[in-house]
Symmetry: none
Subunit: 305 residues, 2 copies
DNA sequence: CGCATTTAATGGACTGAGTCAACTAATTCG
DNA sequence: CGAATTAGTTGACTCAGTCCATTAAATGCG
């Protein structure tokens, strides 16, 4: 459950942008086109040779309504439709030269409108606005293809991110109190303070510039490596990132000459446990505790390398 | 004249957001309200006692259309209208209890919808989206007054946020290495681990659901309070938040019976120094160091309480 | 293969959101 | 005071968008 004030702010923004777009779209009234007309013409103009169903699907329009609009466009000579030889029920819609002219004119007007808006801004401000638009779109547009995840070493801010994301996650999901975040901060802070690149490492999984997972290997002494703070964000579950991160740890620990890789976890973390089991870890001990408020079952797992 | 590709991107975003809002607004169809109805009800519900002209102006509606909608609302018992004693042509519109109930129900649905959208995002992503919305709005809405900042105690994730934001900021701005983030993690982690509410506190400045600043008071023993980790995010500078946070620390330290408030800072942080000077802190010592890579000038400041 | 089902496209019939013009009543301004 | 303006309302209308039924092609299944 997201913070309520975030949601309020988002609603507020939506109200604002509804108005803002409303104003922009009024401009279409200076042409004989409605907003829907313009959207359709734009869609046909960009993907040449689209079918009516596809159009209706993409723009969420009623097929009957769309059919009428296309008929009008055809009558006005803006588009041509031909039967699709591959499926004679379907038709292929293309813009005529005149249609392209109209389409481009609409584009020019729309551009001019935004340019007018941007012209009132200070140097650098349009860039800031557009960059913010990118951010929103990448986050809210499911069709904006999710960037592939990469795994890399930690850098500035990452350790803080680990503390924040896990602190928040365990609080929201399991009701753990701030003692848990304190523990994470201590573990992660010590890792950073005493970081020994020869024996230790931190992996961050990142997607489109946003951190989505992490794990540490720290030196426990006596040839024992410790896997700590494994975490994969909600948004990136099911991609096998957890397994990937654990595999990195195992590979690294072997390579650095450790004889054993151990970890501490809690039994309600079932996905994590499945990963450990599959990787060959064995459960060596278990104890109930209330370290972070609610009762939980702590477990120690070990993998012989 | 703005760069064309910026404009194209902005148009692209507008198309996307038109769709996005369209989807969200479909939900109003589950209620007997249209989007316009909902906007009107929202507007009346928020500013109690508004007049019809003001409403028509703010929402850019036809007065005739608005009049009819208000008539309907009146018939349904959602609002009451009384003549404005100051101008008998005008009327004062207020929501009835039932209207308020409806208004709040709409709000809850709208919230739930956005929450559902946000729930699919990663930790920090809703914040990123909302922060981008702020950016756009601040730039495009001439009437936008920035959301007021509030100051509150820390909760889950905040300590991690402190580590992350400062770790990243000092690395980007001054080239400090990870030893700095390690120090922050240690300080913040210890604060959380040994937190003594009777003598210590953490303040988080938040604006529209986004953390934008922080400061801690920790117990240094011997009647000395320590002000630590003062930070105000770039996006919220110039609002006096730094001063506000420091004032909180001073007030708290006095109230808890400390005799002295001390802090350590570096001299390139000029805004912070100005705040300390103004608050009455005096510089007691100074030493050059390379604790975090680049050479810097560490300073100890003290305020007698 | 043939029959039932699904899908693309369209026309008929309708609804209701939003617009425009005309009017009343109160207010302001010269 | 009278002319012009403003707040609000009603009547008459338009047209964007929806729902249902129909045709023709395609697909699925025994």
């Amino acid at each position: 459950m997201s913070n309520l004030s975030l949601i309020e702010t988002a609603r507020d923004f939506n109200r604002f942008y509804t108005n803002f777009l409303g104003l922009l779209n009024k401009a279409y009234l200076d042409t004989p086109f409605t907003l829907t007309d313009a959207r359709i013409l734009f869609e046909i103009g960009s993907h040449g040779g689209i079918s009516a169903v596809a159009l209706a699907r993409d723009l969420q329009l009623d097929p009957a309504y769309l059919s009428r609009i296309l008929k009008r466009f055809r009558a006005e000579g803006l588009i041509e439709t031909n039967r699709d030889p591959a499926d004679l029920r379907s038709q292929v819609i293309i813009v005529t030269d005149q249609g392209r002219e109209t389409f481009e004119e609409l584009g020019r007007r729309s551009n001019a409108q935004i340019a007018a808006r941007f012209d009132r801004l200070a140097t650098g401000e349009p860039e800031a606005a557009v960059s913010a638009m990118h951010t929103i779109r990448a986050l809210l547009d499911p069709a904006a293809k999710p960037a592939p995840a990469i795994i890399r070493a930690h850098r500035a801010g990452d350790i803080g991110w680990i503390v924040q994301s896990q602190g928040r996650f365990y609080a929201e999901e399991y009701g753990w109190d701030l003692r848990f975040e304190a523990l994470v901060a201590e573990v992660a802070g010590k890792f950073l303070a005493n970081f020994d690149p020869a024996k230790e490492y931190c992996w961050i999984a990142e997607r489109g510039g946003i951190n989505v997972g992490s794990v540490l290997v720290t030196n426990g002494g006596d040839g024992i490596a410790k896997l700590r703070l494994l975490y994969v964000d909600k948004s990136a579950r099911g991609l096998g990132l957890g397994k990937l991160l654990v595999d990195e740890c195992i590979h690294f620990s072997r390579q650095k000459g450790y004889r054993e890789l151990s970890l501490w976890t809690n039994d309600m973390l079932e996905t994590a446990r499945a990963i450990y089991v599959k990787a060959g870890f064995r459960l060596v001990s278990e104890e109930r505790h209330k370290m972070f408020g609610p009762e939980a079952n702590g477990q120690n797992w070990v993998l012989d390398l």
